[in-house]
Amino acid sequence: MTAWDRYWFGPVAAVRPFVLERVVLFLLALDAWVQFVPHGARYGAGGFNVAHFAWLDAVQPLPSPALHVGLMLIVGGLAWVIACTGGNRGLRVLLLTLYTYGWAMSRLDAYQHHYLLSLLLGAFVFFPPSRATDVLDGGAKQVSAWAFVLVAANVAIVYIFAAATKTEAGWASGAVLRQVTGTSQWFQYVWQWVLRSGLSDDTLWEVVARAVALMQILIAVAYVVVVRSDASRARWVRLLGWGALAAAVGFHGSLLLFTIEIRWFSYYMFAVAGAFFLPEGVLRGFVRLATFPVRAVAQSGVRWWTRLPTGLRSLAVVLSASGIVALVGFHLDLPGATAAGLMCGGALAVMGLVAALGNNAARVRQVAIAAAAGALVLAAAVHVLPVRFQYYLYVVADLQRRGEPRQVLAAYEKAEPYAPRGQSRQRQIEALRSHLETHRDE
């Protein structure tokens, strides 16, 4: 093999692509459900939209809250199922397509990491298929995974361009950093403490600004070098990996502490850095720990269940799962959720029927169980977190400017049952009711 071939097709620890894919997909599932959904109310408001690509504007209908919310619920469900079961190439392509359409449908979603996630999902289509047991059993398993190496190169490109922007005057002078950190009290405290060393304020800003750029270059270099670390015994490569991990966690962790709206970008970058830079043994330990409950249940073998005929088992599992998925969709009380639940439940039922006729019943049972579990996690997440409350408050915020008081009241009334403790809008509801009562004849 040539050096090029060795770089792209040489062995990497099988646990790395496994962890990268599964952790990113779990994050994506939760992200879609608790971060994307509340913002769905903006879509189509005022009858105006601009898609990310002009051709998309020409072919798509005006996006609506129901379309966006429903799509994101399905995307989350698909990501969950693939994270749990590994899915197959068809499901991965479907996830890539639906997710990418989710952000591309409107420039309301302008987060660059959503585009990065599409690139990751595209790479996942070509990842070697593997299960937790494959990764854990049989010692240090290695695979040829060019798509995993490509992710490293892709992420390195991201960091190189991010570092390149740091040569601009606004960044190099520390002006951008001053603005970003301006409202952080803890940062001001630490800053004042460092200034006691005698450094001037301007010099310190410049030093920090340049240090961030250097850190990003270090991370970029590490991604393209460390990706081959499983085949290398060089100590400096491992040290570079640790250095890059510390830099990535430090940089992205610090972003979480400032008031910049980047949603879960940092968490995704932690996951990516962990998969590439952590030692193989640590990753295997993580997989062992994370999959312990499922493996324990599988090994305990519910005996009465395994005595049932395969066809009957599949039918029972798939029908129950599709029922649970459809019911959760109905229960969510969000636009598009009922349709999403019915579509996913229906797809599961069809899949069950096909499986009953075919010979991959066990696989379909796994998918059905994962889908039902995902639906229950979604229901729990939406119950525990103020997803619906936020959704309806965004509706209120828009209607207060563009709508009528009666519509605002209706949106408040939708939000109120989901208000977390201490955030009730009952006072506003009473005030609006009283206002509408007074102006009834106008």
Partner: protein, 155 residues
């Protein structure tokens, strides 16, 4: 100490490797060229694929106000469009950032809102706290001819 067992899946066959290599080279070229276009361009209003972790548009050193006016036939003074009543706040923010595609689309939408509207003009006036020069942008769309004129200057 017993050596760990290493099970290595074999790489793809030579011909497939070559095909994949071509795909990788094309993909990486695309990944480099796409953001590079942004950095080589004079107009840096479209940051979407530029991999700026800190957006220059979202964290600018100035504040901008925007207004949109519609002109009927023969009118010198335009009628102000109430953006707060017309657009979702998120789109108004995009206009404040001067996103070209959003500005263009909104002007076209306003042209289509009434047959009486002959032209629509968008203006974005930015001010810095230190009174240094900040961008002033004017975009005028002629609804009949579709002619779009953009003026950007530092004031």
């Amino acid at each position: 100490m017993a050596a760990r067992s290493v099970d290595t899946a074999s790489p793809p066959a030579r011909r497939l490797r070559r095909l994949i290599s071509l795909g990788i080279a094309a993909y990486l070229t695309w990944q480099v060229v796409l953001p590079l276009r942004y950095y080589l361009r004079e107009n840096r209003q479209d940051e979407r694929f530029a991999w700026r972790i800190f957006s220059a548009l979202a964290i600018p050193p100035y504040r901008c106000e925007v207004r949109v006016q519609e002109f009927a036939h023969g009118e010198q003074l335009g009628r102000e469009v109430n953006l707060a009543r017309t657009l979702h706040d998120a789109w108004t923010a995009a206009l404040r950032q001067g996103q070209d595609a959003v500005v263009r689309q909104f002007l076209h939408t306003r042209c289509g809102s009434s047959s009486l509207v002959e032209a629509v003009e968008f203006s974005r006036l930015c001010r810095r706290e230190d009174r240094a020069a900040a961008p002033h942008m004017r975009v005028r769309l002629d609804c009949r001819s579709g002619d779009l004129r953009t003026q950007v200057e530092m004031q």
